[in-house]
């Protein structure tokens, strides 16, 4: 079996978890094994249909009052109890804030090595080969794991969500002893950014600005542009972040976030190697820069040489027209 842990937020399975589950379904099919989803929490059983819709034949549900709030240790105990009992061949997590926190803890508990932030998974010779960026995407490493289960986190926005005929599957309930220690590192409060913006790593479109914006005010131009798309987020270069024009959670690059949206628009960003590392895997890159020799043009599919203060409002206007048609 290849299992995917299904993270829920606001009473829904996260899209990136459905991506991980879909990949588990595809690779399990090639290896001739089953695929399953795993839900854990205070009360999560009603989420199972979401997993069936992505092709899982079975969903394991671990409900415990001790899992009502997230704790690394508590959730790791639950996932490890599942793995100990069902002995999956593979155990996937979405490489989200929670998945990155949880997967290594589960792996260590099971004595397993793991592959982080994978962008490709192949079934080969009865096992899985994981490919992942290293040096923030300056190189790609493929690995096999010589331990069991094969634990991996999968980068969001890379793997497509499968849409199966909504055949209802089987729900299997499991009990897990949540250790007391879990109470010693528990989430006590979740604070959402007021804007309700989505994260740059989860967006289909990222509109980023750099020092060329000249100040925080011009980020309004980027927000206007982003608002044209259904799932867009605003990103930034480190220079913009270090100038306090925007929060560091928006920084894209080697010491920021690595993104791979369908469309990346860089405005007033020169294209330093550390920035390119974080966004070169985007499907389509657009750069707006007044310097025709800016390095960002070397990676851009479409480069606009011009003043961003003139180009961006026009671009927003044109896009709004086209998308409303």
């Amino acid at each position: 079996m290849i299992a995917a842990y299904l993270e829920t937020r606001d009473g829904k399975i996260k899209k990136s978890s459905l991506e991980a589950l879909s990949e588990a379904v595809r690779r399990a099919g090639e290896l001739g094994v089953a695929a399953a989803g795993v839900l854990a929490g205070g009360a999560v059983a009603d989420q199972a249909p979401g997993a069936f819709a992505a092709g899982a034949a079975r969903v394991y549900v671990i409900e415990d009052p001790g899992l009502a709030a997230y704790s690394s240790a508590g959730y790791a105990a639950a996932l490890a109890a599942f793995a100990g009992k069902e002995k999956p061949l593979g155990l996937f997590f979405a490489a989200t804030a929670m998945g990155k926190d949880l997967a290594p803890r589960v792996a260590a508990r099971l004595g397993a090595a793991m592959a982080s932030d994978c962008v490709k998974v192949e079934a080969k010779d009865g096992t899985l080969v994981f490919t992942r960026p290293i040096y923030a995407g300056k190189a790609f490493l493929s690995v096999t794991l010589d331990s069991s289960p094969l634990v991996a986190t999968l980068r969001p926005n890379i793997f497509p969500v499968a849409e199966a005929a909504a055949a209802p599957g089987e729900v299997v309930r499991l009990a897990a002893a949540v250790p007391d220690a879990a109470a010693e590192g528990r989430v006590v409060e979740v604070v959402k950014e007021e804007s309700g913006e989505i994260d740059v790593t989860e967006a289909d479109v990222v509109v980023s600005g750099g020092r060329g914006l000249k100040g925080p005010e011009a980020f309004a131009l980027l927000r206007d542009l982003a608002a044209v798309f259904p799932r867009a987020a605003v990103g930034a270069s480190r220079s913009a972040v270090d100038s306090n024009w925007i929060g560091h959670q928006h920084q894209v690059g080697q010491t920021g976030k690595t993104v791979s949206p369908d469309l990346y628009i860089a405005a007033g960003i020169s294209g330093a190697i550390q920035h390119l590392a974080g966004m070169s895997a985007s499907k389509v890159i657009v750069a707006v820069n007044k310097d025709p020799d800016a390095p960002i043009f070397k990676v851009a599919d479409y480069g606009v040489v011009g003043d961003l203060f003139e180009v961006l409002p026009k671009l927003t206007e044109e896009l709004r027209k086209t998308l409303s048609d």
Partner: protein, 260 residues
Amino acid sequence: MNILVFVKRVPDTESRIRIQHETRTVAEDGLNFVLSPYDEYAVEEALRLKESKGAAVRVVSVGRDEAAAVLRKCLAMGADEAFLIKDDVPETYDGLRTARIIARAVERRFAGADLLLFGKQSVGADNGQVPAMVAELLGLPQATVVTKLDVGEGAATACREIEGGFEKVALTLPAVVTAQKGLNEPRYETLKGIMAAKKKEIPVVKLEDLGLGPDDLRSRVRVAGLDVPAARKAGRVLQGDPAETARELVRLLRDEAKVI
């Protein structure tokens, strides 16, 4: 308070990466090595706690002799002591292997720490594995990707970044915390600090002395391939009247790139 900070020597983010295809390794000649950027935030946080509450700050790195250079930087920043756990094995990408070494060292050599600070990930391997694995192996609570840390008597509160916001984690000490950008602004070493660091000894801890056997030290990660990404092909350049350029760009995004 006793603080342990774990740091790794990594290639500078400016580095261009070349692959040695025969050995499937990253060529090291020509690379400039530094203290991993997130580890710098971890060291800074330890020093701030030392200044505000009083603490002994010990810094530990697992690696080759060359790692002494990044340990010396930490001493120059103000750490009290630095230790090298000597491990001559080249990069394995196996976080569990490193975590086993660190966890054992904490038990046998550095017992009594109240806080174990790490970077959120090592630049290069980009694993983000070691700290949570160490926490699990030692049975400690953890808060990863932390941008704010408040340490009190036997307990701490950490703010960690999540998608579209942050969450607060209540920790009892000892605990594992990993540093994210935003936690603080690392200081530069002073000349006085650099001079003092030069005089300090960096004790070397041997893997044998930690009672780690070949099975603990075997990498479970096998490299099956290593490559640089295909270069993106040069794209189309548009210039001229902003309104016309914008119209043409939108047409291309729709009809050619098909992303909208």
